[in-house]
């Protein structure tokens, strides 16, 4: 789950990390009032769950309340990477001398959090990592002890932070680590971390992604969840206990198990087609689940055929077959179905499907080839 900049900054501020004075606005008038209250040049910043808003024109500097109003007018309603801007954050413009990068995420190989600090801030850190690896300092605190003062100091020295900012940056790193831990973050990032001309240090932007699996113990953060239009189907699927990702092809995919579904997507590509989605019904999929999954996949207008690939373990082939029969009897699907059942009770399932209006195949490769072929047949009726 992603938070907006203004939400992330509130959390940083509560942890004692300095942020610029700022206010949220949902209309040009509110933005004007905010700029008036701040009484200084401001930045008006689109609040959307995506990166690259700067390049897309989602950030404008305004020297007066009137300019802030105009800027908000231009930004609100804007479309950034498919997301509509409904809110802007109006923030006192910093007096920037230099920019740093500070972030914490998971290092999967070391199975530890990794704290990343660089004196090259305000840019794509992955780019810096590959072009100037020496400009990046990393530290791997123990999750049992947190980021210790000596570790924060080591980072500051290794990154080459200027002497005047060392203490402040080390302190912010330790506070940011506390935010990371306390909010079950998968990523927390201050980029840029401003050094102002007077020497003070201040979070220029903030990014905070929360581990969805931990939301059950983070009631305050869970309230901040926002679902954008294009994520609705994914959210609906999640609520039903399976995972769905929309893609841009025309072969709808349903399978059980993330690896198997990925392999099915690959098989469709191997057969010269393109998958319309990823949909994993998970373990122990029952009739009702299969039904709901079919409905979600068919709700995508691009879908021209559906491939159902189930390898039974906990999931039973006969139950899956019943689910398929049920849904196609109640709502005959607008596109052809290809089903491949294997594993537990697969034979019983295949028998149930024998007389149904669908294609049944024994192997994943065959089923994928058939689904791709059918998606290319011009629509009739």
């Amino acid at each position: 789950m992603k938070l907006h900049e203004y939400q992330a900054k509130q959390i940083l501020a509560r942890a004692g990390i300095p942020i610029p004075d700022g206010r949220l606005a949902t209309s040009p008038e509110e933005a004007e009032a905010a700029a008036k209250a701040i009484a200084a040049p401001v930045a008006v910043k689109a609040q959307v769950h995506t990166g690259g808003r700067g390049k897309a024109g989602g950030i404008k500097v305004a020297k007066s309340p009137a300019e802030a109003k105009a800027a908000a007018g231009a930004i609100l309603g804007m479309d950034i990477k498919g997301l509509r801007v409904d809110k802007v954050y109006v923030e006192r413009a910093a007096d920037v001398a230099s920019e740093l990068y500070l972030g914490i995420t998971l290092d999967r190989d070391r199975r530890r959090p990794v704290v990343i600090l660089s004196t090259v801030g305000g840019v794509d850190i992955e780019e810096v990592a590959s072009s100037r690896p020496d400009a990046i300092a990393r530290g791997w605190p123990s999750p049992l002890l947190g980021l210790l003062p000596f570790e924060a100091r080591a980072l500051v020295f290794a990154a080459g932070v200027a002497p005047a900012q060392r203490e402040a940056v080390a302190d912010i790193a330790r506070r940011l680590y506390r935010v990371y831990g306390e909010s079950d973050a998968t990523l927390v990032e201050i980029n840029p971390l401003f050094v102002q001309k007077n020497g003070s240090v201040l979070a220029g932007d903030a990014k905070l992604d929360i581990d969805d699996n931990a939301l059950f113990r983070l009631p305050e953060l869970a309230k901040l969840k926002e679902v954008s239009a294009d994520e609705e189907a994914e959210e609906k699927a999640r609520a039903l206990g399976f995972s769905y990702v929309q893609l841009d092809g025309d072969v709808g995919i349903i399978g059980n198990g993330a690896g198997l579904v990925m392999a099915t997507l690959d098989a469709v590509r191997n057969a010269g087609g393109r998958a319309a989605n990823f949909l994993d019904v998970g373990g122990g999929a029952k009739e009702a689940v299969v039904k709901a999954a079919l409905e979600i996949v068919l709700s995508n207008p691009r879908v021209r055929s559906v491939l159902i690939n189930i390898f039974g373990g906990i999931t039973r082939g006969d139950e899956v077959a019943k689910g398929i029969l049920d849904v196609i009897q109640a709502h005959p699907p607008r596109v052809p179905l290809v089903v491949r059942l294997s594993g537990t009770e697969a034979e019983a399932g295949r028998k149930l499907l024998e007389s149904a209006p669908l294609e049944s195949r024994e192997t994943m490769d065959e089923a994928a080839a058939e689904a791709v072929r059918l998606a290319k047949v011009p629509a009739t009726a």
């Binding site: 590959s130 999750p143 699996n213 198990g257 690896g259 198997l260 990925m262 994943m364």
Partner: protein, 290 residues
């Protein structure tokens, strides 16, 4: 036994709910020695003929269990894992899905200095066909033999085991390492076990996009490999930034791409199958040439 589990492995079940009971029954049918289960407050009773204990320590004391399978729901799973580690169980297999990453990081930190091997979470478990199954895999797809098999996926594991079995390629031990970003025994460690196992003749490594476990496993095999290996990577057609079901299966930036993994295996001289169906043929070919 091949690696991790065999005829003498004695298993307790942590979390004997609906799913736990179902799979405990399947494991017993397979011949796995299921010697007990924990259910706080129900110690001294028995469920489905399995003796119940209040704590893992009590279960270990009284049954001599040396393995555990964990079905405890995600919010309480860290506690269950730490309880098993504290009881010094040799092998802990975690089936639970959806454990918070922060919890698994703590578990991983404790594991650094513990005697326990943790397989999973969010995997199907492990099986030494013909001897012992500690997991949720449908046993009929597996058969005893010399192919060691490591996978990050569940059903894909069954699919490939089925293909291997049909092709007459039995398995030594199959290890489902789990699909989460932080697992107890990651792919490279599982591959090392099989590489050093005298009963394993060839290794199948089934990876997926996300992370760099496959690259590290390839690197390890390049320098230490003693036997032929074949790889498959699921998610070659997945676009970056989209999480493919598994919390670990995501390409972010230039990290975790299928291309990087395929290249790593090829550089290690390990052929990479384009589809699961190609795996048995590649294994046979590799065994012929070794």
């Amino acid at each position: 036994m091949s690696v991790l589990l065999g005829r003498d492995t004695r298993v307790i079940v942590q979390g004997l709910g609906r799913e736990g009971r179902f799979h405990a029954e399947r494991m017993k049918e397979y011949g796995t020695k299921v010697v007990g289960a924990t259910k706080p407050g129900a110690g001294g009773t028995s469920i489905d003929g399995i003796p119940i204990f209040d704590t893992v320590a009590a279960a270990v004391d009284e049954t001599g269990a040396n393995a555990s399978i964990v079905f405890v729901p995600a919010p309480a799973a860290m506690d269950a894992l730490l309880e098993a580690i504290d009881a010094q169980i040799d092998l802990v297999i975690a089936i639970t899905e959806g454990i918070p990453i922060a919890d698994m990081l703590k578990v991983a930190a404790v594991l650094e200095t513990a005697a326990t091997t943790l397989v999973g979470p969010n995997g199907p478990g492990a099986i030494t066909p013909g001897q012992s199954k500690i997991g949720i895999m449908p046993a009929e797809n597996f058969s005893p033999g010399g192919v060691g098999f490591v996978s990050r996926s569940g059903t894909l594991t069954y699919e490939i085991a089925d293909l291997l079995t049909r092709a007459g390629l039995g398995q030594s031990t199959c290890i489902g390492v789990g699909g989460d970003p932080v697992v107890g025994l990651p792919t490279p460690g599982a591959v090392r076990l099989l590489n050093e196992d005298p009963e394993t003749e060839a290794i199948v490594i089934v990876g997926e996009i996300g992370g760099s476990a496959e690259e590290r496993a390839a690197e390890y095999m390049r320098s230490e490999g003693k036997k032929p290996a074949v790889a498959f990577i699921a998610g070659r057609s997945a676009p970056p930034g989209k999480r493919m079901g598994h919390a670990g299966a995501i390409v972010s930036g230039n990290q975790g791409t299928a291309e990087s993994k395929v290249r790593a295996f090829e550089e290690a001289g390990i052929p990479v199958a384009n589809a699961p169906s190609e795996i048995p043929g590649l294994v046979k070919k590799a065994l012929r040439h070794s």
